[in-house]
């Protein structure tokens, strides 16, 4: 006998609204039906109603966690449409902004993952150390989450010399504790029991379903926009692309934690290599008719903005492809065949960002079920 377990739209394991209909046989999952779309905001349309300068702020607010990368991708597309280059110092400031964001996003994710497997202590400690990176964003850019280091044609604020020693001290502290966490996650037996061999995404599936970011890299796909399509100052900073082979949740944990170490290295190099000089160039009022693509490596993976201009100060069309959206198809092969206990950690393992792309439905092809939720059902579920 199979029965359907509803998870969400409100559920303790999901911080954001999603509705899963998991078909289970005992504890085993035999079918998955994801219903998303409780958060559709119509931002693509709203961006084409705003001028570029105002659109920058809206693009940053597509997603709270990866706001710097969103505005960076938007800026990158708009700058290449307008044909302007940003000053060297600003490129390094953008790198520092984006990497601080990657650190805090990955630590946030690691904390959520620890919570999903019931390891509350690790969850609290991850988030305690995430505060360090948030403090640094606050120190350098003025706010913990919405740092907004990027500006059309440059950077919004300059990094002051006197803040750099504190930044380096904090990064050293962070590096030490992240190294300790990698050690713990790869050797604690309860963590290994819950994460190893769970939610495996094979390399073939990852490539075919176009998975991006740490999800793909944990499955052995060597793919990182920072290296393949360098932006800001990434072309001048050497770093490693972290790739793991196994594709399970443990590999995703290790990939993310090792990426934090890599990010800390990148920030150190950026501080050393940062030239002096102006941080902004003038951005023109009107932008010539043209089209361009801006891609960045968000903490969750490849983020793409397509901008088409029409000669005015407003874009004609902006297309956003967020990393979580690209990763949703990979959830199904990861879930089917597992147990209920694995749902939260497997879903969390792609680091889904609902505010980015909460708008997908997947139907299990094996059972051929194509359920759509009716209003009645929704009303019943909400009661």
């Amino acid at each position: 006998m199979t029965f359907i377990v509803p998870i969400g739209p409100q559920h303790p394991a999901l911080e954001e609204p999603a509705h899963f209909r998991i078909e289970v046989k005992g504890e085993e999952i035999v079918g998955v039906d994801l219903r998303l779309g409780y958060n559709h905001k119509g931002i693509e349309q709203a961006l084409s109603d705003r001028s570029y300068a105002h659109g920058l702020y809206l693009s940053a607010r597509v997603c709270g966690i990866c706001n710097s990368t969103h505005s960076l991708a938007f800026t990158r597309a708009v700058e290449s449409v307008a044909g302007i280059e940003c000053p060297d110092r600003a490129r390094y400031i953008r790198v520092i902004d984006a990497e601080l964001e990657r650190i805090h996003s990955h630590l946030l994710w690691a904390g959520v993952a620890a919570h999903e497997i019931g390891f509350t202590t690790l969850f609290m400690l991850f988030w305690r150390d995430r505060e360090l990176s948030l403090d640094m964003r606050e120190l350098l850019f003025g706010q913990r989450i919405y740092a907004s280091g990027t500006y059309l044609g440059g950077a919004r604020v300059d990094i002051k010399e006197k803040d750099i020693p504190q930044l380096i001290r904090t990064l050293d502290k962070l590096e030490k504790s992240v190294k300790h966490y990698i050690d713990v996650c790869t050797s604690d037996r309860t963590i290994i029991a819950r994460c190893s061999g769970v939610g495996v995404l094979k390399k073939k599936d990852a490539r075919e379903l176009c998975a991006v970011g740490p999800t793909a890299r944990a499955s052995g796909v060597d793919f990182d926009i920072r290296r393949d399509d360098p932006y800001a100052a990434y072309g001048e900073i050497p770093f490693d692309v972290i790739v793991e082979r196994d594709g399970d949740v443990l590999a995703k944990v290790v990939v993310r934690l090792r990426e934090i170490l890599e990010s800390i290295g990148i920030i150190h190099q950026a501080i050393d290599a940062m030239p002096k000089g102006a941080i902004r160039t003038k951005f023109p009022e009107n932008v010539p008719e043209y089209e361009a693509v801006g891609r960045t490596e968000a903490p969750r993976g490849e983020l793409m903005y397509y901008v088409r201009s029409n000669g005015t100060n407003k874009p004609e069309r902006v297309r956003i492809r967020t990393p979580s959206y690209a990763n949703w198809p990979s959830v199904k092969p990861m879930l089917v065949g597992g147990t209920i206990a694995e749902i939260p950690i497997v879903v969390a393992s792609i680091d889904p960002c609902f505010s980015c792309t909460d708008r997908v439905t997947i139907v299990d092809a094996e059972t051929g079920k194509s359920r759509t939720i009716t209003k009645e059902e929704l009303r019943r579920l909400r009661r």
Binding site: R207, C210, F223, D228, D229, E291, R295, T372
Partner: protein, 140 residues
């Protein structure tokens, strides 16, 4: 594959090939050749479809396939008239295209033939049929 190699590869199937900023290739193809072009890319082990963008250009709708080619990005544009809004599915070449094609169907009303799961993706179930939010006429 770098931008020049991609440009060489795509030249047979597309016109107006230009390389922008060393790594982005823009090309325009047509209804007869785009499936061949995408198949050729798939055969060259370029399996990562970044996304499919639809742009309403008034008379036509531009469908742009963004394909990640290792070191470069190919933007293959296909222009189809609003009177015959129909394209073939590419899910057999790029299985990851499944969601992007569904979005294209509901947001711009482009019919994708042979799509395995042609249901709504973002819009709610009570959204009126035949109304497409990203079309220009929907703005008013």
């Amino acid at each position: 594959m770098n931008a020049n190699e991609v440009a060489q590869l795509i030249k047979r199937y597309a016109d107006d090939v230009k390389i922008v900023g060393a790594r982005h290739v823009f090309a325009v193809t047509d209804k007869e050749r785009y499936i061949e072009a995408l198949t050729a890319l798939g055969d060259n082990d370029l399996k990562h479809l970044t996304t499919i963008t639809g742009v309403d250009r008034g008379e036509n709708i531009d469908v742009i396939y963004h394909i990640h080619c290792g070191e470069s990005l190919l933007n293959l544009k296909l222009s189809i008239p609003k009177t015959a809004l129909e394209i073939e599915t590419v899910t057999d070449i790029f299985p990851g295209a499944i969601l992007y094609e569904r979005e294209l169907m509901e947001m711009l009303g482009v019919q994708v033939k042979g799509h395995p799961d042609p249901r709504r993706l973002f819009l709610s179930d009570d959204w009126p049929a035949g109304k497409f939010p990203l079309r220009k006429e929907a703005k008013k």
